[in-house]
Structure formats: structure tokens, C-alpha cells
């Protein structure tokens, strides 16, 4: 078994190399002196300095973070509620509802974007934060729901019974027993939602307005001019920041299980 384990570990190592190679390149090129970011011409911190002056880029990063946060909260709420309710109760049309909920996950983003745009126009909803968040939640919360559903499938019903036998009311049983049990799935759903929302481009294109541009939209816009290294710089800063945050949370979690 040790051999198998070692083979798996080596394979995983190669896959991670594959994952991180472009990231390494991205980070490296954030120090590239050439503006056109195509050939390496020299080392510089210029782009990081420029970030501080680039109001637009920083503003769009803020927008992205806000949208992603709100999306995550709503997705987790809807997803957990949905997973729990569909698990507990046999609704008529329950599996239809489930299929409908999962549909946005698998529809081409252009279609999703355009159809939502037309919907918003038809009901007269102004494009902005609200519409972006709605679109993001629509395709993120199925992921959160799926994660919680998977976890629920492994739930030992005796657990809840025991809590109720010990005098807990259903809401208490939910909060004190179920939620902690579901927490890993909730967190994983939250992580997924956050990630998806942050990098979302196409649907956002159709449902954002001039004042609420997100970072991916801004980057997409700058492709024409050539992706100058300040975009690499902001990606690097961002990845560093979130990786640190995530590992900090993980460390905290391990100290208080």
C-alpha cells in the first residue's frame, strides 16, 4: 500500500505543478518591465506602485469583493435551506424544483447572461449591484446546495433523534446539532460560491452597469490594449491576500474545533 500511496502522491505533485505553473508565470510577469507583457525585458516594481494610483482597478476589485461576499452569504443561506428542506420533506414537485435550481450551473453563460438581462429589462429593474448579485447567486447557490446535500446524505438520523430525546426543540436541534455537522459542507459551498463569483465574467457583463464594474470585466476590457503587468500585479496581490486569509481561517479552525 505504501507504493500505491507514494504513486498517488507523486501524481498529485505533478498535477499541482500543472495547476501552479501559470500562476508562477503570472506572478513572475507582474515584475516584467515591458508594458506589453509579452516578452520579458527586466525586473521592476513599477506595476505594484501603479496599482496604488489606479483608482479604477482598485475600485473594481472592491466591487468584486463586495459582490462575492454578498453572493456567498445569500448562496449559503439559500443552498443550506434548500438542501435541508428537500432532504427532510417530501415535497410534490421536489425533484423538479431541484432540477430547476441546478440548471443555471450547466447552462452556457452567454445564454444565462442574456436571458437575465432581458428579464431585468422586462421587469424594469435597473442594472447595478442588485442585478449582479442576483445573477451570481442564481448560479452559485446550486453549488452550495449540492455540497450540503452531499453531507446530509451521510447524516445519521440517530443524531438528531438523540438531541430531541435530550430535550432539544427542533430549532435548537437544528442550530446546535445539525449546523455544526453541516459546517464543513457549508464552508465548502461558501468557498465555491466566493470563487465562482469573484472570477465571473460573462454573466456579469450582461447584468452590470457602468458604475458597478467588477475586476474580471475590467481585465477583459483591457485585453485589447494588451494585458499590462498591473493586471498581473493585482492578481498576485489578490491571490496572496486570499491565500493568507484562507490559511489563517484554517489555522483558527484547527485551534477551536
Amino acid at each position: 500500500m505504501q507504493l500505491a500511496r507514494r504513486l498517488l502522491a507523486t501524481w498529485t505533485g505533478f498535477v499541482f505543478l500543472f495547476f501552479y505553473l501559470p500562476i508562477a508565470v503570472l506572478v513572475l510577469y507582474s515584475f516584467n518591465a515591458s508594458r506589453l507583457n509579452i516578452v520579458w525585458t527586466g525586473f521592476t516594481f513599477e506595476w505594484y506602485a501603479r496599482l496604488l494610483e489606479d483608482r479604477v482597478l482598485v475600485r473594481t476589485l472592491e466591487n468584486s469583493l463586495i459582490v462575492a461576499s454578498v453572493t456567498t452569504v445569500l448562496s449559503v443561506a439559500l443552498g443550506t435551506a434548500g438542501a435541508w428542506l428537500l432532504y427532510r420533506y417530501r415535497y410534490r414537485g421536489g425533484s423538479l424544483l431541484e432540477t430547476l435550481i441546478f440548471l443555471p450551473m450547466i447552462v452556457p453563460e452567454v445564454i444565462l447572461g442574456v436571458s437575465l438581462l432581458i428579464l431585468f429589462v422586462t421587469i424594469g429593474l435597473q442594472l447595478g449591484y442588485t442585478t449582479i448579485v442576483i445573477s451570481h447567486v442564481t448560479f452559485c447557490f446550486p453549488f452550495a446546495m449540492a455540497a450540503v446535500q452531499a453531507r446530509l446524505a451521510g447524516l445519521d438520523p440517530a443524531l438528531e433523534e438523540a438531541a430531541q430525546d435530550l430535550g432539544a426543540t427542533p430549532p435548537q436541534a437544528f442550530a446546535k446539532v445539525l449546523v455544526p455537522y453541516l459546517m464543513p459542507a457549508i464552508l465548502s459551498g461558501a468557498l465555491m460560491s466566493f470563487t465562482l463569483s469573484l472570477d465571473e465574467l460573462i454573466v456579469t457583463y450582461f447584468t452590470a452597469s457602468a458604475g458597478t464594474r467588477t475586476l474580471p470585466l475590467e481585465i477583459f476590457g483591457r485585453v485589447k490594449k494588451g494585458l499590462d503587468p498591473s493586471l498581473n500585479a493585482i492578481s498576485t496581490v489578490f491571490i496572496l491576500f486570499t491565500a493568507l486569509a484562507v490559511f489563517a481561517i484554517e489555522a483558527l479552525r484547527r485551534r477551536n474545533p
Binding site: S69, A190, F206, S209, A210, G211, G221
Partner: protein, 348 residues
């Protein structure tokens, strides 16, 4: 731990609610809907500084994208940046507001040649922003023979070394040019005539790229191509002496990007002020410096440095055969289908 997360999420939600109104309010605003990376931030900042009007710059990367959002009526824009054939289509559909020339004193700076173009004679609805051409770029370090026309580009010896724009309309117009037809002569019969020509050309292409064709040329993955003049000008600026730009002798596309005011504009006065601001020579020259296309503003040209005027991609010498695109209405779908079909057959 859980509580910390909830608290953080709650705070984030509150922050979002708190900041949202901030994004909405501003004293006076101008909604600019333009090509991405085509209006320098310095121009927008300068405008805000002088007038106090905040500019919201929303972008698109094709005329059709702009039309999609405009037609849906989802947002109202005060200034848009259509290309010439799109101006024609919009005027036909009554989607543009006529310009009040009295509010545009700097309009006189626009060169005479631009006042009588088929898409908007008399500049009643639009103001030229930048003009350009689509022409042949050659890496002269790798290719030493002259490449003077489309037929010279699409030769089997250059197979796999060519970059072209990913634009059905463009490529079809090049095919038409080699048949002695102008780009406006898009008919079903002419499309059939052009089909075998393009069927022979497309398998030779390595890269289709309308966003940044200079990338492939700089990378050395391709040695020649037919691209926007602005891209070529940047190449020439970046690596002088390496690249040449020639307008195809069979006939080249001249495009004019314009500023116009759509029908649903909320702030028409501010829109006019912006247009006039951009027409000022000192502002227009800033745009030229960032985007070395051909500046239709002759007063602004006087302020350009010699090297900029000498760039053959920005200011092509001689008297080339040029034509603008016209609105072809529904035939656009046929053009697209032809291109899609041939691309699919020639690709992999």
C-alpha cells in the same frame, strides 16, 4: 469560529448595502459607453476636473455588443462610440439624437474629408473620433519579399504564419476586393463568388484575433498579417525597423469610429459638452498619443510629434484605395454563416 464567519459575512453584507448608494449618487453624471481601452483615463479625468461631471465609462469590445445592450434598453447611455456602418444603421432606425452644432464649436477642427462620408454626411448625428485602416503588417526580419496585397499575403508559402482579424465582415470584404468588388457590395451572389477565394485562404491562417493581433506578431508565432492600423502602429513604435505596414493594393477598409448621442440619453447637455471637449486639439492629441490611429482632428495633428506623423500605420502615405463599410442589414447573418462554415472546415 462559526460566529466569526457569520459576523464577517453580516458585516460584508452591511458594507455592500452601505456602499451601494454611494455608487449611485454623484452630482452630475455622464454615462459613456465606448470601446474598451479606447478613451484614455486622463481624458475622462480632465473632463471631470473642468466640468465637475463624473464619467461612468462602460465598455464593449464590438459594435454588436454595444447594440445588444443599447437595444435591450437596460441602461441609458449619454455617449456611445459606434463605427461608421453602425452609425448608418442607428440613424436609419432613428436611434441617434441629432447633434446641436451650435454646442460643438470645436467641430470645425475635423478635417474636410470627414464631412462628407456616406454614413453621416454633414456630421448631423456623429462626430469622428479616430480613423483607421485595415492593412498588411509584415515582420521584415523574417520576410524579405514585398507583400503588397491580399493575394501576396495568402500564399501557401506563408501557411501557418499568418494572423488575421477574427471578423467575418472584414475577411469577406478582403475577398470581395480581390474580385474587384467594394465592401458594400455584399449580396448573396457575391458571397458565393467569394466563397472559393476564402476557402483557399483560411486554411493558411494560424491565428484569428481581433482584440490584440499584435501579440502573435510580437511573440514570433506569426510573421505577417492583416490587422488594424492602430495595432500595427503600436508594433512599429515598440520595435522600430522590424515591422512594415502596407495598405493592400486591391483596396482597403477605412473605418471611422465616432461619438454619438443615443435616443435614450438622460444628460444631453453633458453629452454635447463631452463631445466638444474631445474635439479640442489639446485633448484629441492625448488620445492619439495612446492610440496611434489616424486623428481626424487636423488641429490636433499639428500638435503631434514628428515620429507620430511619420508612422506609416497611423498616417499612410500616398493615395491608397480606401472604402468604408456600409450597413448591410440582414445580410450580416449570411456573411457570418459563410465565415463560420469556412473557418470550421479549415480548422481542426
Amino acid at each position: 469560529m462559526t460566529r466569526t464567519i457569520w459576523r464577517a459575512a453580516f458585516a460584508a453584507a452591511l458594507a455592500a448595502l452601505a456602499l451601494a448608494p454611494l455608487a449611485a449618487s454623484a452630482d452630475e453624471e455622464l454615462n459613456l459607453f465606448a470601446w474598451s481601452e479606447y478613451v484614455p483615463q486622463s481624458v475622462l479625468d480632465g473632463f471631470t476636473r473642468e466640468t465637475g461631471i463624473e464619467v461612468n465609462y462602460e465598455t464593449y469590445s464590438s459594435n454588436e455588443e454595444m447594440l445588444a445592450k443599447l437595444v435591450s434598453g437596460a441602461a441609458s447611455y449619454d455617449v456611445i462610440q459606434p463605427s461608421e456602418y453602425t452609425v448608418e444603421a442607428l440613424v436609419k432606425e432613428g436611434q441617434l439624437l441629432p447633434l446641436d452644432h451650435a454646442k460643438l464649436p470645436n467641430l470645425k477642427n475635423i478635417g474636410k474629408g470627414y464631412w462628407n462620408q456616406p454614413h453621416d454626411p454633414q456630421l448631423a448625428y456623429s462626430v469622428p473620433y479616430m480613423q483607421g485602416t485595415v492593412g498588411i503588417v509584415v515582420n521584415t526580419k523574417r520576410i524579405h519579399e514585398p507583400v503588397l496585397g491580399y493575394r501576396d499575403v495568402f500564399q501557401p508559402k506563408y501557411a501557418g504564419r499568418i494572423v488575421v482579424l477574427d471578423d467575418a465582415r472584414e475577411i469577406v470584404s478582403w475577398g470581395l476586393a480581390t474580385q474587384g468588388l467594394g465592401p458594400e457590395q455584399v449580396t448573396k451572389e457575391n458571397l458565393e463568388k467569394v466563397r472559393p477565394v476564402l476557402a483557399a485562404w483560411l486554411p493558411l491562417v494560424k491565428v484569428y484575433d481581433s482584440d490584440s493581433p499584435k501579440t502573435a506578431l510580437l511573440n514570433g508565432d506569426v510573421d505577417l498579417g492583416v490587422v488594424w492600423s492602430g495595432e500595427a502602429a503600436l508594433l512599429i513604435q515598440e520595435q522600430p525597423g522590424k515591422f512594415s505596414y502596407t495598405l493592400p493594393k486591391e483596396g482597403a477598409h477605412m473605418f471611422i469610429d465616432n461619438l454619438a448621442i443615443p435616443k435614450g440619453a438622460k444628460n444631453v447637455a453633458a453629452a454635447h459638452r463631452f463631445l466638444d471637449y474631445v474635439l479640442r486639439p489639446d485633448v484629441s492629441v492625448k488620445i492619439s498619443k495612446e492610440f496611434p490611429y489616424t486623428n481626424p482632428n487636423v488641429e490636433a495633428r499639428k500638435l503631434l510629434p514628428k515620429e507620430a506623423l511619420a508612422n506609416p500605420a497611423s498616417y499612410p502615405p500616398g493615395d491608397p484605395k480606401l472604402a468604408t463599410f456600409r450597413d448591410i442589414g440582414r445580410l450580416a447573418a449570411d456573411v457570418d454563416k459563410l465565415f463560420t462554415d469556412l473557418k470550421a472546415r479549415s480548422g481542426s
